[in-house]
């Protein structure tokens, strides 16, 4: 059983901290939840507690980046993307400062905390921010690779951490690269494109579809911005029916990003799985996934719907 993704985040921070002495971690009173705690224990002098004041924390991160440090201002995704977006945008992203923003507790698995804490708009908001790169890793291996790439890539970066245990998705030796997606299964009847925790659901959906003789091309886009438009367009030209799946709002998120690629480069029928322009209320993870029609069965049903529409349009 892999460790929970937030533990992988905390441990990777420590690994990178040993390797890069100019990494600092900033916190807004959530380090035991986010697991930035591990970094605090390993490097107490490089951990800066900012209190419950996210706007100030992101400004401090900007000032530290100007002094040559690589700050990771760590908080829940809702606060990074909404409480402090003006600071993220103008203090950090506009001057292309070297700040790495981990957004913890994203989407459905935030579960019982309810609408205020379940980040769904963060992808859209960060994606709309010029200079910002956005990643939603699909498993712990990819998260580690995303964090390494974040440190090695100059400029502002936002990446998501799911409070959940995700099954291993990537092969040993996998390396994340900005703007590069990966094909996890080959098929020519329909394209399933996932990001973050939803990619493993796409693979399960592909198995369900295979039982009905439908062969899905399954792609994973850990890098949401930039996005692998070539890979997406090539698959869409082959299948002409695409389903996207994300643990976020479909408004402005991965579904929108794929719609932009399809509209401009490879018109195809599209169905978007994710949160449909509504808040996520308190509930258990399994029941919330069912409530928001985000299960593997929902993805498979959307795929069949997309195929039917494609055929009707022929």
């Amino acid at each position: 059983m892999p460790e929970e993704m937030r533990d992988a985040f905390g441990h990777t921070l420590v690994e990178l901290g040993h390797e890069f002495p100019n990494i600092l971690v900033l916190d807004a009173d959530l380090h035991t939840s986010s697991k930035a705690l591990y970094f605090k224990k390993a490097f107490p002098d490089r951990f800066i507690q900012c209190g419950i004041a996210e706007q100030n924390m992101f400004g401090i991160a900007a000032g530290l980046a100007m002094q040559g440090f690589i700050p990771f201002p760590s908080t829940f995704a809702v606060f990074a993307a909404k409480r402090a977006i003006d600071q993220v945008s103008i203090s950090i992203s506009y001057p292309k400062l070297n700040v790495k923003i981990p957004g913890s507790y994203v989407g459905i698995p935030t579960s019982r905390a309810g609408a205020s804490h379940n980040a769904i708009e963060d992808v859209a908001i960060m994606r709309a921010t010029p200079h910002m790169r956005v990643a939603d890793p699909g498993d712990n291996r990819e998260l580690r690779s995303v964090m390494r790439a974040a440190v090695l890539t100059p400029g502002p970066i936002y990446f998501r951490i799911t409070r959940y245990t995700l099954p291993d998705l990537m092969d040993e030796g996998y390396e994340f690269a900005w703007g590069r997606g990966v094909r996890l299964a080959e098929g020519s009847d329909v394209t399933l494109i996932g990001t973050g925790m939803m990619t493993s659901f796409c693979l399960q959906a592909a198995e369900l579809l295979a039982k009905d003789g439908i062969h899905a091309d399954v792609l994973h886009c850990g890098s949401i911005k930039p996005i692998d438009a070539d890979l997406i367009a090539a698959s869409a030209r082959k299948t002409r029916a695409v389903v996207t799946a994300e643990n976020a709002s479909v408004v402005g998120g991965l579904g929108s990003a794929i719609a932009e690629v399809l509209g401009e480069r490879a018109p195809a029928v599209l169905r978007r799985i994710g949160v449909q322009d509504e808040f996520i209320h308190s509930g258990g993870i399994t029941e919330l996934l069912a409530h928001h029609h985000m299960t593997p069965a929902d993805i498979a049903a959307a795929a069949k719907g997309a195929i039917a529409m494609r055929e009707a349009l022929r």
Partner: protein, 303 residues
Amino acid sequence: MRVKPEDLVLVEEQAYQIRRLSLEMITCGRWGHVGGAFSLAEILSCLYFHELKLDPQNPQWERRDRCVLSKAHASPALYAALALRGFFPVEELYTYCELGGRLEGHTDMTRTPGVESSGGPLGQGLSIAVGMALGFRLREQPGNRVYCLLGDGECDEGQVWEAAMSAGHYHLDNLIAIVDYNKVMAKGFIWDLMSLEPLAAKWRAFGWEVLEVDGHDVEALLQVLHEARHVRVHGQPIAIIAHTVKGKGLEEAEFNYQWHTQAPDPDTADAMLRELARNYGRPEEGYSKINDPDAKEKFYGGE
């Protein structure tokens, strides 16, 4: 500290030039904030021509002091100070707000030599300054200071007090905030729009040492800046409340919120610059582009 008479003369002359050039830029660029640039003239002049450790030939010099213009709408005054100090040619000031130029309406640190932060949304600068001050501590540069220039209306922003609280918590005695207390906001007087008093008590309550000064008295300003750099009081950050006059130097603009954001037409600018020269006992000089047909066409014929 005794300020040398020749230093006083230099700093006063540069304050006058900052006002003059700010108005030239705002006229030429057809946009900008006169009132808040004028109230800041002596503060900038004292910093850039006396107090700050900097090297115009090497704007990224690691051991320089940092100065964050949080009230980034006063950019013309900062740009004028930087040009006068030699960071870029004075003539370049006339590209203010020009697409493709280096002088953005609100500050952009990636484009303008000597500008230390990007700003515009009020309230963001002091947090950046706190980060810089923590950075100096981590980098073990005790000889450096971080200055942050705040507007008075800007102190309505909650982020200012988040930053103030964190600076107090971390005992950042290398951080100096200067409030340009010109009493006027964009749309009226402070006391009519949002009460700020007791301002000194607010800073003290957040763990700061407070010094108050007449922000147009150059000698007093230099004394206070010297004290702020060298006199460490219990490891506290220092807030200098500089009492100023919005639009200082022009009768029409003083304490007049209508000159918060407004670009004069070339003829008005010409008259204003002549008045400014008279008020500061300088040889009368008008708007330098008054006979430039391109500049006039740009003003009256442009967008």
